[in-house]
């Protein structure tokens, strides 16, 4: 699951898709995950980092991860 190459993201959660002109904003954890995704980390690696740093159960994260990917797909930000 990769983020489209031309998507611009910033650390404070601002996201811009130049091909559609759409912009998005995300909460801090979303911004963090986006940066990881852009840097080429795999889903597994990212989830490990989150589990290490945040107070969350693996099962909860797993569910939210599915949901997150749906949001990205919906926003047309994923390279399918």
């Amino acid at each position: 699951m990769k983020i489209k190459k031309n998507i611009a993201t910033s650390e404070n959660g601002f996201i811009f898709n130049p091909s559609t002109g759409d912009s998005f904003s995300s909460n801090p954890i979303g911004a963090e995950i986006l940066l990881f995704m852009k840097s080429g980390k795999t889903s597994l690696e990212i989830k490990e980092i989150i589990l290490e740093n945040y107070e969350v159960e693996p099962a909860q994260l797993e569910r939210d991860w599915e949901d997150w990917l749906l949001q990205l797909k919906d926003a047309n930000l994923l390279d399918l």
Partner: protein
């Protein structure tokens, strides 16, 4: 220390909207109700659970009474049982001095059970059974006649019992508010109400002591009450002058709005709803200006329901799951639905999370857990990001929900009253399967073999 987690969330920004997430500074978690923590309430009594504030009920009552008795010498409130007839709730009103207003034998017996004096019970409604009418006559209750059928039935009963009950007629009328509630009572404009009065007074089997109307509910127009009052005054004057039958009381019914926000209205209820003072002003100035002599001023009765209790009630519940719908909209499933929150058909209920959250919000649909499509609590609401297990507080649910709730696919939850010292009391236990099955019986040939 690990960081506080929040699920990752993305929101599309509309061009031209500068504020990232809209201004949502009005969001505050609601962690306490009258000083009692929401979490402790659900821990102790389960989720969902209805919570009522005794302090708020009394405050509402006292302030409504003040609105009227600072303007008019003879005022009496009668608690509308159907609005919330949990006995503890009724007794708060009765302790404050309220009579009872009932619309069925069931409610009538509840009022008697709560120790209300028979002559302080107003018996309204289109369906009064013969046995209930007889009891009401024996108890000297105030019977408000709804239609001619009932009038004739009462005449028969009076003859059989050889009693002369105190009665009123319910009058319906054009107050400029549509649709007219003309299915209840006798119409003013077409002369039906006057005919009923002539019949009652002429036959002499009953004492016509009052005139009643209830022009609608969640009424936003104070002038409608002025019109209704003047039409009742007109009938009262005619009773006195033409029939030598002075009227002892005018009952203006209920109908004052609570501060809930009606569905589809642009502004929140708190900003649009006239205060009770304005209704009191419209009603009392009309009576005082009508030309009654000081010693003949009728008593003014009010059957106010929702305005006295809506904002004293809360529904606490939990988030079950979040979803994304096929069209991309977000949805949140809660552990209560329209089965418990009947009023979500009318209101956009204000809902607050009961725990801390960040300033990120999303627009979501709130669904209940019923397996039916109409089970929607809010079609669209902007809320902080909620996670499964999070608690939410629904505000202003004190009126009609605890009487119109449906027992569908699960049992109804507990109702808790927080008294004025902050003590909690379970005033109605959560229903159980066993309780639900008490009235059932299975014929022998259908019983399963153990």
């Amino acid at each position: 220390m690990k960081l506080r987690y929040e699920r990752p969330y993305l929101k599309k920004m509309n061009v031209g909207v500068m504020n990232k997430f809209g201004s949502r500074s009005d969001f505050q978690p609601v962690k306490f109700i009258d000083g009692v923590s929401v979490k402790s309430l659900t821990d102790k009594y389960g989720s969902p659970v209805f919570v009522l504030s005794e302090r708020q009920i009394r405050k509402n009552y006292q302030s409504a009474v003040r609105s009227f008795n600072t303007r008019y010498p003879k005022v009496q409130f009668a608690w509308s049982y159907k609005t919330n007839y949990i006995n503890a709730v009724c007794n708060v009103f009765h302790q404050e001095g309220s009579w009872a207003e009932v619309v069925s034998g069931f409610e009538y017996h509840k009022a008697i059970g709560n120790g209300v004096a028979g002559n302080h019970i107003i018996f309204n409604g289109p369906e009064k059974k013969e046995a209930d009418l007889k009891l009401a006559i024996e108890n000297d209750s105030l019977i408000h006649i709804d239609h001619f059928e009932e009038l004739y039935k009462l005449i028969d009963i009076c003859e059989a019992l050889n009693k002369k009950p105190r009665v009123a007629i319910r009058v319906n009328m054009d107050t400029g508010i549509y649709p007219l509630w003309d299915r209840f009572g006798f119409n003013y404009e077409n002369g039906q109400a006057w005919n009923a009065i002539l019949k009652i007074v002429g036959l002499g089997k009953m004492q016509l002591v009052g005139l009643h109307c209830h022009i609608g509910t969640f009424m936003l127009s104070t002038s409608a009450y002025a019109i209704a009052t003047s039409k009742l005054c007109d009938l009262a004057m005619k009773c006195k002058n033409q029939l030598q039958n002075p009227i002892e009381y005018l009952d203006l019914g209920g109908g004052f709005p609570s501060t809930n926000t009606l569905k589809g209205s642009y502004l929140p209820g708190v900003d649009t709803v006239p205060p009770i003072d304005d209704f009191a002003e419209a009603i009392t100035t009309t009576i005082l200006g009508y030309g009654f002599q000081q010693n003949e001023l009728p008593m003014l009765i009010l059957e106010t329901g929702r305005a006295l209790i809506d904002d004293a009630g809360y529904l606490l519940g939990s988030v079950i799951a979040n979803k994304q719908l096929s069209d991309g909209r977000r949805a949140t499933i809660l552990n209560f639905g329209v089965n418990l929150l009947f009023t979500s058909f009318w209101y956009d209920h204000h809902i607050s999370p009961a725990q801390d959250f960040t300033h990120y919000t999303e627009e979501t649909i709130l669904y209940g857990p019923m397996c039916m499509n109409i089970d929607v609590i809010r079609e669209s609401i902007n809320l902080p990001l909620l996670s499964p297990g999070d608690l939410v507080v629904v505000h202003k649910v004190g009126a009609y929900n605890m009487t119109q709730w449906m027992q569908f696919i699960s049992t109804r939850p507990a109702v808790v009253l927080i008294d004025e010292t902050g003590q909690t009391h379970e005033i109605r236990q959560a229903e159980t399967l066993k309780y639900m099955e008490i009235p059932e019986s299975v014929p022998v040939h259908l019983q399963h073999k153990k």
